[in-house]
Structures are given as C-alpha cells and as structure tokens.
Symmetry: D2
C-alpha cells in the first residue's frame, strides 16, 4: 500500500500554482491538502481558476491557518522576498520546493545586492539545493529544501553547463538573447500586461540588469571554476507560455560546432526531458514544448568563424517552473522523476 | 493480462490525427500500429509534427500498404467525401470511429443534397451510429461504425437535445451563433488561414448554408418528432482551438429559465464530461475546456420575456473531434469511457 | 485664413483619448491645446503613450487647472457617471462631444435604472443630441452637446434603423450577437483583461443585462414608434480592436432578403462611411475596418424562411468611439465630416 | 498646377503592394494607374484585398499588357529573382523603386553565391542605389533605380552605420538577434505560416544563413573600409507586423555607452523618421512604430564591460519595405520625403 504525500501549495492563486494543480492531477502519491492565498482566502478554487472547477481541491486559506504538522510537501509559489521567513517557519519534517528566487543565491552579499535587502534565512540558505534537476539530481534526492531555478536560467544553462564543464567554450564569451511568454510576469493586474498592450508587439526589458543573471553567473562560475559574467537580454513576447534562448558562444581552441552538438547529445542521451537535435534537424520551437517538462536544444554554426549558436526552448511555466518543481519533488520522495510528467505538447 | 488493441489512424497528418496521437499517449490498451497519409507517406511522424518527436510512433504509410487484418480499431480522419469507400473496404472485424461527415446523415437524399454527390456506401451507412456519446452511449457500445459528430453539432446539441426531448422549448425557434477556432479548418495551406489573415480579426462564414446544419436538423428533428429547421451562423475566431455556441430558444408554455437549467443539471448530473453551471456562476469560456473532452454550459434569461440564452463551450479538436472519438472508442471496446481523458485545461 | 479650433480632450489617458490624438494629427483646424487626466497629471504624453512620442502635445493636467475660456471644443473621454457634472460646469461657448454614456438616455428614469444613480444634469440632458451621425446629421450640426453613441449601438443600429423606419422588419424580433475587441474595456489594469487571460479564448458577458441595450432600445423604439425590446449578447474576443454584430430579424409581410439589402444600399448610397455589400460579395470582416470610421454591412438569407441575417462591422475605437466623435465634431464646426478620416484599414 | 505622377505597382497582390496602396491613398502627386499580378490578373482589387474596397484603383492586369510609356514611377514588389529582367525591360524614362533583393548586391559573384543563379541585369545593377534613405539621400534623389533595403538590414544598419563610420565600435564584433512579424513571409499559402502554426509560439530560422546578411555585410564593410562578417539570427514572432533588433557591439577603445548614444542622437537629430531615445527613457517597442515609417532606437550598457546593447524597432512592412519605398520615391521626384508618411502608430 502506498502512502499518500500530503501536499500544500503556498501562493496557489498565481499561474505557477495553477500549473502545479494541473500537473498534480492524478498523481499517484501527492495529494493536495492545503492551498494558501492571503488576498483570496476563503474562496473555492473554481472562483479563482474556473478551469479547475471539476477538481476536488480544498479552498484557499490564509497561511497561518494551515497546520503544517499534517503536511509532508510544500510547493512555495510566493513572490520573491516574502518566502524566506515563511519557509524558515515550517516544521522540520516538511520538504520544500521553492519556486521563488529566495534561496537560489548562495552568497548573501550577492543576494542583498541583486534583491535590495539582506537575506532573512541565512542558515536555511546553506541547506538549499539549486534544483536544475539534470545537474543536481543526487543533491535533490537528498534535499529538504530545493530552490527551483528560474525559467531563463533553466533554458540557458541546460545547454551551457556541459560545454563549460568540458571547457569546450570560452565562458567569458556567452551572450544570451531570450524570449519569454507573458505568464512569467504572473497574474497580478498590471496595465503593461493587458492584452491590448501585449498583443501584436514585442519588446526587450531588464536590459543589462535582469535578476536571473545573478543565478546564471553563480552556476556558470561554479562550473567554470572562475568568475563568469554574461550578456543577457530578455524579451517579452505575445505568448501565454513559451521560452526560447538564442545563445552565442565562442568555441574554445580545438573545438567544433559538431563537437559541441555531440557533447550535448552524449551528456543528455539518457535524459527523459532534455533533447538535443541532430545536425540537419533544424531548430526547435516553443510550440513543441508547451505544457511539458521538456527542453529541446540545437547547435548551429555562426556566420563568424569560431562561434556557435545554440537554440534552447522550454515552457516557462513547465520546465521553467512548475513541472521542474514536480520533477524535483518526485525525486525528493523517491519516485520516478517523470511521474505525471510524461506527455506531449498540445499542438495546435 | 490485458490485450492490446491495435489502432490505426487514417489521415494522420491532419490536426485531428495529431490530437488523437496526443491523447492516446499512455493509453492502457490502444496502441498505435499504423498511421496513413497519402501525400506524406514515408515520413517519420516527427517530420510532420515535431512536437511528437519523442513518441514511439510508426512512420506514415500509404493506405493501401496497411494490412488491416492486423488492426482492431480505426480512427478515420480523412476529408469529407473520401471516407465512404475507404471504410467500406475495411475487414469486418475492424471497429471504426469516423471523424469525417461521411456517415452522419442517415437520409441518402439529404447527404447528396448537402454534399453534392451520391453516398457511396449506403448499406454501411445504415449500420452507423451517430456518436454524440452522452445521447447514444448504448448504441456506441454496440456499434462497429461510429460517425463522430461535428464540432458545432456537439457544442449545440448537448444543451438542446434534453430540452427538446422534454418539450421545454419550441424547437422551431432555435437560433445558434457559434464561434470557432481556426484548427477546425485543418492544416491545409490556405491563404485565408494564414496568421496574417486571421490574427486580430473576426468574421462570419457559411451564413445560412453551413453543412453542420444538416446533422443538427437531423438529430433535433429525430428528438422532437417533427421536422426542425434552425438558424445557425458560424464565425471564425483568432483562436487555435475553442468553440462557443450562443443559443437562443423560446420557452414552451409553462417553462422558465430556471426550469431549463434544472432540467439540464439533472440530465447531466452523472456525466463526467458535461457540466451545467449553477445560477449565479456566470458563463463558461473556451479557456476552461481547451485540450479537454469537457462541455460546459450555462442558462440565462434573455432580455425578451419568454426566451432563454444558453452558452455552451467545447474544444473543437477535443469534444468536438478527437477526444470524443476516443471516448467513443473506449466504449466500443468495453473500457471506462474516460480512459486517458481525465485532465484539466492548460491555462494560461 | 482659417481659424484654429482650440481642442481639449478630457480623460486623455484612456484608449479613446489616444485614438483621438492619433486621428486629430494633421487636422486642418482642430488643435489640441489641453489634455486632462487626474491620476497621471503632470506627465508628458510620451510617458503615457510612447507611440505618441513625436507628437507636439501638451502634458496631462488636472481638470480644474484648465482655463476653458480658451477652449472651443471638448472631447470628453471620462468614465460613465463622472461626466455629467464636469460637462455641466463648462462655459456655454464650448462645444462638446461626450464619448461616455452619460447623455445618451433621454429618460431620466431609464438612466437611473440602468446606471444605478439619478442623473445629475437633467437640464443639459435635454439639449443633448444622440450622435449616430448618419441618422442625426442635421441635429449634430446644430448641437452644442453630442452624446456619441456606444460601439455596440453604432454597429447594430446602422443596419437596423432604416429597416425599422421602412417597417420592413418586425422590430420585436431583433436578436443581436456581437463580438468586440478588448480595447472597449479600456486601459485600466484588470486581471480579467491580461494577455494571459484573454488570448486564445472567447467568452460571452453581460448576458441579458448589458447597458448598451438601453440606448439601442431607446433609439429603435423612437424609430419604430412603439416600445421595442431586443435580445443582445456581447462577446469578448482576443482582438485589440474590432466589432462584429450578427443580427437576426424577421421580415415584415411582403418583404424579402434582397429587398432589405436594396433598402440599405439606397439609404446609404451617398454615405462616405457606411457601405452595403452586394449580393454575392460575402460578408465583411473586422480586418476591413480596423483604424477607420467605416461600417460595412451585408444581408443574407437565414436558413429559416422569413428571417434575414445581417452582418455589420466597425472598429470599436473608430466608428464605435473616437472617429465618430471626430466626424461629429467636424460637422459641429461646419467642416466636411470626413476631414482627417479618409483612410484605409491597416492590413495585415 | 502640379503634374500627376503615373504610378504602377508590379506584383501588387502581395502585402508590400497592399501597404503601398494604403500609404499612397491621398498622395498629392502619385496616382496609381496600373497594378500587375500574373496569377490574379483580371480581378478587381477589392476581391484581392477587401479592405481596399472603397479605393478608386485599377484592376490587376498581367505585366505584359501594361503600356509603360504612360508610366512615370514603378514600385516593384515582385519576388526575388524575377525582377531583374522585368526591370531591365522598362523604358528609360521610368523611375523604379525595387522592393525585392535583386539589385541590392553590387558584387555579381556575391549575388550568384547567395541567390543561387547569375545576375541577369549586370549593367543595370551598376546604376542602382542602395536606398537606406538616411544614408543615401543624395544618391536616391538622383537615382533612376533604387534598391529598397531589406527589413532586417534597415532595422540593424540605421544604428550601426554611424557607429562604424565614427570607428566607435569594433565592426568585427557585431551580433544581431532580430525578431520579425509574419507578414515578412508574404501572402503565399504556406502551411508553416498558418495561424494554427504561428500563434502562441516563437522560433529561430535561417540560422547562420539568412540572405539579408549579404546586404548587411556589404554596407557595413563599405562603411568600415574593410571586410566585415556579422553574427545574425532572425526569429519569427506571432505578430502581423513589427521588427525588433537587439544588437550587441564591442566599444572601440576610448568609447562609452553614453558616447554611442550621443553620437546617434546627433547623427539623427534632424531626421523625421529616425529617433534615438535618451538615457533613462527605456527601450522602444514595435507597437510604437506599427504602420509608420519610423525607426526608434535606444542604447544600453551590457552586463559585460566594454560592450553595448542597442535596441532598434521598425515596422517590417513600413520602414522595412513600403513606407521607405515611398520615402525614396518622394525624393526621386523632388518632393518632401515625408509626403503622406506623417502619422502615428495605431495603438492599441
């Protein structure tokens, strides 16, 4: 007889919470027993998300009314900055996947600099695992607290980390242009995210200053063994979900574009969710990963000799957030990491 | 030990075929063993639909190369008019769900009139079941050939049939305005369906002449017991998938709007895929059913006394095509009709 | 030498205000000399609307800082309910086109019933002209205060009024299904209008209760000579702009579908902005009128004998709001009504 | 009395042709007297583009039926490769703006290499002016044949050329990521451009091989005085129109990000259609230029020291094609280059 894992989603009224409820439906072990949302506490979930109308879900409650002694697993979908004290206050037996940025940076000074205030749970921070699953699987299995990576870092680092580890590229040469769907901005009512302001237009934002650079530089530097700075420019697309990174890298001496592709193919050959296209197969599109935990990447020759271009796609709400969170939680409880995650994109 | 049902999809290169492959993934019994596509025969499926890249699917082949003695179940996704002789040529042991319109009309004269040529499989037509599942469940279970209903008829008749059966509305008063996503038009390259021609605009089409009226009038008349003509106007929306019908009906004497809602609620109380909103719950949106087999409906007072307005939503590729086809196939093979169909819409 | 008309836009930070600034650009007489916006007062227009960056426009100011003795023409784009006292406070020499609903209903009781509070400028109301230009041209020319019609009423009544006036249709039979772009909901930050909530879905709203029914019933009744109630269901589309009404009417005895089309063709033969398609020309789409002051309509046979279907399209921000406002203002100042309005839709 | 310029559009059934007809409407001198389209010859324009229904336009005819002795100005919108012999066959008195790529490359070998066949009008090629207006104004004024630049080159080179001319950046360091609306792919019916294939997804294409690199490298090299190779990756967006280039450059010794911005501000200070945002004004979006001849650019510090990021936006059908063509034609006939081009973007 299998044991049920009692699962809470904190901040369940946002899009990552909704996506978690969708992908947890029918999960063999994880059963949602608590959903929190401060401003909408008291509402049944179908008032918040009518598409979840037919799910058997508890109503939203305020955080401080939850008895966490009855909870085994927490997915924390709270906004950046609000999460540290909340998580620090959970009982020791609870395992946590935190989808916010609060536990991703290991250096407290870096955190303070990028997020504008001192970290409030420094001891807990030391125990956190940066959960880019394919690069931290063993640590995730043993972790109590997993800091789920950001969407841009997931999309960019899956191709970059193996190449840096192999010293196949010059880590100081990395330039990333990334395109994201609007759901990454959350469900808060903002004029700039209205349909009328987004549809039929594109824009760059956070130029030279987006906070996801901090975790990318941390992880890339850790792998490289020296401090790495990257160029990173995110763009907002008229998409509900989807993320594409176009990454330009300089080949290290003795390397070739085909060599890079081979390296990535081998590194990810056994992976269920990371796929490397063969030469001649073109580049992936975000359509191919919408609603899934997949990352698909391709490697191409740049027009300028000695450089390569890498295209990498994920669903920003999927592998970039909620499905990677579930993949990590599956591992933390000894399950097959693909549990409830084996599906195809909905196309068209 | 369960037996595997060997399953073929004819015309697998279209959108309804792709959707079938998606929802058949992981099905406990139905295993796809043949996929046909005349013009793209020889191609592996991932060249036709890259989002199915990681599925273990056979390549597309020409119809006449398939050995149907090894096939138990056929989903026929061929274009209207081409299906009759194909299906007539299948061995007797094969069960068929036909997603085209070819076997939906029981009257050969009606068929010839609406489709412009004589029916070519009149004997087979007599054995076909019009598979609006919730209104033909027993017949579907016993059928060899199910004519899967059109999307507009599914969306419109789920609310209408119980009301006509109960003589709660005047069947001669029905006026349907319906909105459809573009995927209903298929994957053929047409200038009128280019992104540039569709995005940010809406239009009505087939005004007074759309062929789906034929099957609606057939089924509504059959239920009413007298000949019914309806007003029906379809519109093309800048949506990939989704369908909404706004239906105006005149209450029969002694009936009320609340009475109609109660009637529908009771009729569908035990159904897994048909849902009637309560008074005060507003109207459903197509977002709530995208990618699912669900139909959600609501009943409202019209401004003009004695009339009611009904809103009904489905996914035109889901309950309007491929998932209803799977629901029917599940029944034809003695399975729980919800097998592989229990999921939530992907939102946002 | 032409005189400059000093023009103010009240509530200039909304979409109808922005559209007015766009279509007033290069106007030979109307020169924008004041823009008001309470919450954003002090901001230069390019911070509010960067696409107007290169216009020579005054900054937004608070209403009570404007010296209206220096203003000749006011376009009032304030929200419904806030406009009455504002307009009542303007000096007598100022001519006003009010884009809100505040002066559209002539019956104070009707106003109070639909809008939930008593009308606050009853004397002024008596002087207002309901400015559906093609049906009120002479009154508009002579008016000081024009109540610019709502978008749904404009789109629906342009085809309906001539047919009712000619007693060619049964005015008690009218059923309108209408589709609108999201810009009609304005620029306020609302969760329900986020890109993520709107894109790739459609919904009905205000079923049986939308306030535009009040002005439609007023005008239709006035033309019919008896009280008319209509069925009207608006729907929200994933469009930035565009509106389409599908109108079903019952032919009065002795009338035909072709007769209705002829009647409309003749009625609008001399009009610059209202166009009636010929038999065989199909139905118009909203693409054809985006950004223009045009209304295009077509007349079709219904499947049910004795009924006709009319399709009518406008741009909800154009003929449904700002360009009709300019058309009216042109007339109020003795100009050609088409001044600055002669253009084609931007397609694709 | 002004003289009328008799104007022909060759290949008028495509999107650039339609856009030309829109922006020529009301032009004081250019009067459209011939429209050619081989496959749709004989059709009135309103059948091809219903939104042009109310224009007074000639019907489409076959090219060889046009008497070019009565034509003064030709806009050539024919597909790449078909244009050379057509243009070579026009009488000497006709002035031509060619929107295809056929006359953009001055080196016949380069042409043959990128386009796969030898150039067929080598003598004529020598007379062509590469018409990036702001960088070729005098040559355009004197030209008989203007090769209108590609959309990507226009968007990218407006910021790059002044910086290279001033030796402020390292021309060998240029990396361009560009995003384009679908209208750039034309109106031909292609499966890959269906609404269902484009909406809600993004993709990269032509990686390392897009033909627009040829003209960019030609012009950048000409300005630099040495051979320049660039990295360029175009992406397809779910937009009807709009183009954004994100350009990364290495500062030449002694230069700063602010210095680059100043340089561009000064260079374009007197221009009507090229605008450089100030520090602190953020980055432009494609919404701000839709339907216009404008280019807006901004300059930002890269995270990596010594590099700058430039964002540049245009409308791919506007400054990237048809409105720049009109700007050039205005100059060729001695008119103010802004004639009929002074307008704001349609927003929302």
């Amino acid at each position: 007889m299998t044991q049920t894992i009692r699962t809470a989603i904190l901040g369940a009224s946002g899009y990552t919470g909704a996506e978690l409820m969708r992908v947890l439906h029918g999960h063999p072990l994880f059963r949602i027993t608590a959903l929190t949302g401060e401003s909408q506490a008291g509402k049944p979930m179908h008032e918040v998300y009518p598409h979840l109308r037919f799910a058997d879900l508890p109503a939203l409650v305020k955080h401080d009314t939850v008895d966490f002694s009855n909870i085994d697993l927490v997915f924390c979908c709270l906004p950046h900055g609000t999460t540290q004290t909340i998580i620090a206050g959970l009982p020791d037996h609870v395992k946590i996947v935190d989808l916010s940025a609060d536990f991703r940076l290991f250096n407290a000074d870096e955190y303070a600099q990028w997020y504008g205030h001192p970290h409030q749970a420094l001891e807990l921070q030391k125990t956190a695992v940066y959960g880019l699953t394919e690069h931290a699987r063993d640590a995730v299995k043993a972790a109590r607290l997993v800091a789920n990576p950001g969407c841009y870092p997931t999309c960019s680092m899956l191709p970059l980390l193996p190449l840096i580890a192999a010293r196949a590229i010059d880590a100081t040469s990395i330039s990333i242009n990334a395109l994201s769907g609007v759901s990454g901005a959350g469900r808060a009512a903002k004029q700039s995210n209205l349909y009328t302001e987004i549809a039929e237009g594109v824009s760059a934002y956070g130029i030279g200053s987006h906070r996801h650079m901090a975790e990318m530089e941390q992880e890339l530097s850790r792998t490289a063994g020296y401090a790495v700075r990257i160029s990173f420019t995110p763009h907002l697309m008229p998409l509900k979900r989807g993320m594409l990174a176009t990454i330009r890298v300089k080949l290290a001496a003795g390397n070739t574009v085909d060599g890079l592709r081979d390296m990535l193919s081998k590194r990810y050959a056994g992976e269920r969710f990371v796929h490397v296209l063969k030469a001649g197969e073109g580049a992936p599109t975000t359509h191919q990963v919408a609603g899934t935990n997949d990352c698909i990447m391709s490697v191409h020759a740049d027009r300028v000799e000695g450089y390569a271009l890498i295209i990498s796609v994920i669903d920003n709400l999927g592998k970039g957030a909620s499905t990677q969170a579930l993949q990590n939680a599956n591992l933390m409880f000894g399950l097959d990491e693909a549990t409830n995650l084996d599906c195809f994109a909905q196309f068209p």
